[in-house]
């Protein structure tokens, strides 16, 4: 089904140009959002990801019109809406705790926006019925919000916004109040709905798993700034900063000094037979300090020293083994620095590769070492 939103490919759905927002809190200026430039394409599933207080919700509220930026410009479909009030913006929001109208039924909640737009009654009935079918709420029309489960209320909130066919749908941690099972179900469903209606989704969340599975692109935010913007794969495989590496999934961070460079691979040495190979740019030279990120599932753990020449190799002592069902997680104390975490898929081995106190060797290919800016 398409909703017939005529999208103008000439403009991004949403554009922020040098937008910033200062708050006055206890006589001190707090920079909630700092000079942000951002462009979200038509039909994109875009996530703003970050810990609480990183400015992601403020950013979304400036797009919705609930906060006025201290500086900069907000464009919707190429139109400057910086000073336009929320009721005159063609975007709709799904609030964190749904914020359904408690005195209205599910149907009346869904019809609210169209009634304000003076759409005629028959058309409202048709469109509300259609959208309630998409979100699987048919038969719930007469229920009051308090008579519905969390998942159902969530769908009403979604339908109430989508029925207006907005230019963009803004979702503020919409799944936060649901339990794990329902949350995973709704993730899949949200993605399906987004494909069906073809509307731009801007999704605010602090849950990296949610952002990774649903988004076309993710902006990872920290302290009012975007640390990294890219596809889920880019952000996971090549974290741009120490913050992103730590915030998205689990990351092993290694500090080292470049001992030699051969071609585009630098060698960090940690002692007899222990080295980390890192792909680097031409600008890197001998003696430079580097910080390297390695994802836990990329590392092989073995009792014997690996034979391959072109591998990063470290040795250490196992301190902890935790069985997780699909994988077993090992913590290894190395001489190279901090403890490293290794995830080993339980695909082949029925037994643990090593136990606490065992001396082990860790190895991985150069392309899995990723140098990060600090």
């Amino acid at each position: 089904m398409t909703t017939g939103v005529d999208q103008d490919p000439g403009h991004p759905a949403i554009e922020l140009a040098g937008v910033h927002k200062d708050y006055l809190s206890h006589g001190e200026t707090v920079q909630a959002v700092r000079r942000m430039d951002l462009s979200i394409a038509q039909g994109e599933f875009f996530s703003l990801l970050g810990p609480s207080g990183c400015g992601k919700t403020t950013t979304m509220r400036m797009i919705a019109g609930f906060e006025e930026p201290t500086g900069g410009t907000v464009f919707l479909d190429g139109r400057d809406v910086t000073r336009v009030s929320p009721n005159k913006r063609d975007v709709n929001m799904v609030f964190q705790s749904y914020a359904l109208f408690p005195h209205l039924t599910a149907y009346q909640n869904v019809a609210f926006g169209l009634e304000r737009k003076k759409v005629d009654k028959a058309e409202i009935r048709r469109r509300a019925g259609e959208i309630m079918e998409i979100v699987s709420l048919t038969g719930m029309e007469k229920r009051a919000p308090r008579e519905m489960s969390g998942g159902q209320q969530q769908r009403v909130a979604l339908a109430r916004a989508l029925v207006n066919r907005p230019r963009a749908l803004l979702l503020d941690e919409p799944l936060g109040a649901l339990d794990l099972k329902l949350r995973q179900q709704m993730q899949v469903e949200l993605k399906r709905i987004q494909r069906e209606v073809g509307i731009t989704f801007v999704y605010v969340t602090h849950d990296q798993g949610e952002a990774l599975t649903m988004s076309d692109r993710i902006a990872v935010m920290e302290a009012g700034r975007i640390d990294q913007l890219g596809t889920p794969r880019e952000i996971y495989e090549r974290p741009a900063t120490r913050f992103v590496a730590g915030f998205i999934g689990t990351s092993n961070l290694l500090d080292g000094t470049v001992e030699s460079v051969s071609g585009d691979v630098a060698v960090l040495s940690y002692g007899e037979g222990e080295r980390v190979l890192v792909p680097v740019s031409a600008a890197t030279g001998v003696g430079d300090a580097l910080e390297v990120s390695v994802r836990p599932e990329k590392i092989d753990l073995a009792q014997d020293a690996p034979t391959g020449a072109g591998l990063s190799v470290l040795s250490g002592v196992v301190t902890e083994v935790v069985y997780h069902g699909t994988s077993t997680n090992y913590t290894v104390k190395t001489s190279a620095g901090p403890d490293l975490v290794i995830f080993d898929q339980n695909a082949y081995s029925a037994e643990d590769l090593a136990g606490p106190g065992d001396r082990v060797y860790l190895s991985w290919s150069p392309q899995h070492s990723y140098p990060i800016g600090v």
Partner: protein
């Protein structure tokens, strides 16, 4: 705990409250009902005769005051809604961290005795007082203009005295509205007046309903404001009951009038609840 004790527990819990109600509510009511059906006088004593005619005579003789009381009560309640809503609204939505302070200021005058406060209104409303004096000397009002002794004075006093009982319930209802629900209305194309009409007002109605109950009933049966601020043309039913009982020692008539007033108010309140659909209102309130 034994089974029998567990079964008994709810009854034991209701015992103190039940005894209290029996002693201070049921017994006086029955006594009053009996009193209204007695005949006699203060010297030779009263005896129960089942004389219902007392009710008919009382209502016929004092219907003017009875109707006037209900009108004063109704007008007072309407004025109270108009005055209290903006006050409650402002404190609830713009009070910020000072909300408790504003509520305290609202209640502060009520630490002074009811009668004394009403008497102080005499000084405000009197012919050459602080309100009319300057207006008269400035020539804005004619010398003969007066408020004291009129129904305006009595209703002003009633409004003043019952203000917190309307502000507080409305405030509580408004305070409970999730600001995000109002934002949701704005997000769904409602301008501020529409958001107020479609979301804030319906959600505040349970508070208004409670406020009306808490003000209309006592305002209609009030006897202080008319006595202090009114005149013989503003006599309310409460004053009649008071003078029948304390001055004329006509206990049956006083009791009959009290019961009549109570019946009229109960019927009024139930009709009002029915008309407003209290059940829905209470559901919203209980959310």
């Amino acid at each position: 705990m034994g089974r029998s004790r567990r079964v008994l527990a709810p009854y034991l819990l209701i015992l103190p409250g039940g005894l209290w109600l029996l002693l201070f509510f049921v017994i006086p009511m029955v006594t009053m009902l009996s009193l209204s059906l007695q005949q006699g006088d203060i010297v030779s004593g009263y005896a129960f005769t089942g004389h219902w005619q007392t009710y008919v005579d009382a209502v016929v003789n004092y219907r003017t005051q009875l109707v006037r009381s209900l009108i004063y009560g109704a007008v007072t309640t309407i004025v109270l809604i108009v005055v209290a809503f903006p006050v409650a609204y402002w404190i609830a939505f713009y009070g910020g961290r000072r909300k408790p302070t504003y509520l305290f200021l609202l209640l502060l005058p009520f630490f002074v005795s009811f009668v004394l406060r009403t008497i102080s209104w005499r000084y405000i409303l009197t012919d050459e007082g602080m309100l009319l004096g300057p207006l008269k000397s400035a020539g804005i009002l004619p010398e003969s203009f007066n408020i004291l002794g009129t129904s305006v004075a009595v209703i002003s006093g009633l409004v003043y005295n019952f203000l917190p009982f309307m502000v507080l319930p409305i405030y509580v209802a408004l305070e409970r509205i999730d600001p995000r629900v109002v934002e949701a209305a704005r997000d769904l194309y409602a301008d501020p007046p529409t958001a107020f009409r479609k979301v804030i007002l319906p959600l505040a109605l349970p508070g208004v309903f409670a406020g009306v109950l808490m003000t209309f009933v006592p305002a209609s049966s009030d006897y202080v404001n008319s006595a202090v601020l009114g005149s013989s043309s503003t006599t309310m039913i409460g004053q009649v009951i008071q003078s029948q009982y304390l001055t004329s020692s006509n206990y049956p008539t006083a009791s009959a009038l009290s019961f009549t007033l109570m019946a009229v108010l109960l019927i009024g309140v139930f009709a009002y609840a029915r008309a407003l659909g209290t059940e829905d209102v209470m559901k919203v309130a209980a959310r």
